[in-house]
């Protein structure tokens, strides 16, 4: 199983633990990742705000690169996934596609409309299969109560994300939680916004969102939260102390990137999964799992 790998900016910037954790679990899953070093940022919806055509052209460029490799695209960020899916949805219109290809011609690229970008979350459920994943679980996260947190862009809008053709996408994260042996903590915030996009614009509101979701999950008994989105992780983990200060109560809810949680269940070490890079201490969770301290 081979994919053109689109890691996104954050897994190499603010969440550097995500990239190696992904590589390690993909190795075990037999997923081969071919890098596309020249692929640009998707625009994350911010660039699209300014100029949608520009954003779509940059994504079409990435799609064309993957087509040239004859490989499907694998992403590890809910935001990248959503932005790519939306761009791809618009590029189904032949006239628009031709216009966009006009901008790519100079670089010798042409997007034929065949790309099918897929988040690792979807790849696991749809391509790899949960059976195979289950076969690789050597240390089930038994007893861990885990709250899913999807990230806006991987749940809305449902037409561009093709939920109708892939109904599993609606519950994919819960399915992963169950496969790795943990218990799902269902809570209202799971498909809400983490607040990251307004962090530098209205920090109070952004922190209020972090506090609301993490506290709600905690109150329902969650020991940890799991997310397929590094932007959500940035806000929910790195800014959790600040959110706790604003809320006037401690939170201390470990936030795991989806590949980290899977890696732990595959028997990989917290160190290899980059848990030491988290701001919220994950050792209580590790102790509960009986993972020896290094």
């Amino acid at each position: 199983m081979k994919y053109a790998f689109f890691p996104g900016c954050v897994s190499r910037g603010g969440c550097p633990e995500l990239y190696p954790a992904t590589k390690l679990i993909c190795e075990r899953l037999g997923i081969e990742l071919q890098e596309m070093p020249a692929a640009s940022c998707t625009g994350a919806g911010v660039l699209q705000e300014k100029n949608q055509l520009l954003g779509d052209t940059l994504n079409a460029r990435t799609f064309a690169m993957a087509e040239a490799l004859d490989l499907p695209i694998l992403t590890i960020c809910s935001t990248c996934q959503g932005v790519m899916s939306q761009a791809n949805h618009r590029l189904k219109e032949p006239e628009y596609l031709a216009k966009v290809n006009g901008f790519l011609a100079e670089e010798g690229l042409e997007y034929k409309g065949k790309a099918n970008p897929k988040h690792l979350l979807w790849v696991l459920v749809e391509d790899v299969g949960l059976k195979k994943l289950l076969g690789l679980i050597t240390r089930p996260l038994a007893g861990v109560r885990m709250a899913p947190f999807y990230g806006c862009y991987i749940v809305r809008p449902t037409d561009a994300l093709e939920f109708e053709d892939h109904p599993d996408r609606q519950t994919a994260l819960e399915q992963i939680i169950e496969t790795i042996g943990a218990t799902v903590v269902d809570f209202e915030g799971k498909t809400r916004c983490c607040g990251f996009p307004i962090l530098t614009i209205n920090e109070r509101n952004s922190m209020a969102m972090v506090g609301k979701h993490t506290l709600e999950a905690k109150e329902l008994g969650a020991d940890a939260m799991i997310t397929p989105c590094p932007l959500c992780h940035l806000n929910l983990d790195s800014f959790q102390p600040k959110a706790a200060a604003q809320a006037g109560r401690p939170i201390g809810l470990p936030i795991l990137h989806m590949p980290q949680a899977i890696g732990l269940a595959m028997g990989l070490s917290p160190h290899d999964m980059g848990l030491r890079r988290h701001i919220v201490n994950t050792t209580p969770l590790e102790v509960a799992l009986g993972i020896p301290e290094r």
């Binding site: 910037g13 100029n51 940059l58 901008f103 809305r156 307004i198 600040k242």
Partner: protein, 327 residues
Amino acid sequence: MDVTLKIKRFDPEAADPESFWQDFTVAIEENGTVLDALIKVREDHDGTFSLRCSCRSSICGSCAMRINGHAGLACKTQASDAIKDGVITVEPAGNMTVIKDLVVNFDSFWDKINQIEPYLKPEGPEPEAEYIASNESMLHLSSVTSCIMCGSCVSDCTVMEVDPTFLGPAALAKAYRFTADPRDGDAEGVSKDRLEELTKPSGMWDCTRCMECVTACPKGVAPMDRIMALRDQAIEAGFTNTNGARHTEAFSDSVEHSGWLDELRLVPKSVGMTNVSALVGYAPIAIQALTHGKMPSIIHKKLPQSENVRKIFDKVEGPEERPRKHN
């Protein structure tokens, strides 16, 4: 067809007013709507059960509520589509106070609509004859004027949930209905005063782009897309001295010049290099990130062939730039 409804109820006149869940099973026609089922509950089971409805054909905007956790019109939702694990869960719309059962108080909704001054405000000299607006401009506006003021978008807005002062999706979409109208604003149709007002806190830049409102809206108004268009208009009109505008510019600059995002410089550039107090506020987090090995590299390397990304910026942002106002 029998359907079971799980309804969140509230009676302000109860001795100890607290909301509670109650289940009802009613028989409706195969193609009946959630509203049909709710009306049945009132008619056959409990005459005190309160809800708003009128047109029953998604025109009046009265019957917005949360169905299975998400806002929508009860009269536009087929009961058979809404059954989940055998039940349909119904709650009052969110972000507004509940008066009784499914009836919520719309005062805050209308206050915000009034706040954006929902009428044309031409600033230039009065036209000598009637103002001829192009067909295209009016067609463009029809997507926003189709709003039926149901409040579904407001119900599910993630920012309003934590900040009731936020103008919110319905009012901001309504504001766009005027800023995008060639008759509003100065002789060029640029609504400078409006845009300036809307760039203030609680306005257009406070939206998180979560798309809840786009999903909730039963009329395709896509409020978030209108908010993005407002931001574009505001930057175009010269209102660039906001964290939001700086953030968009800094983001765009980084991608243009290196092909990807330079997170390290995004924060200071967004809050403003000279905004010392805000920057100091981020310092403890930066130090923590540094000690945990989370800090993005100080040296932001360009991607290979990043010059090609730059060329695309030049080509697309050049003469091909998309129209901001259709007049």
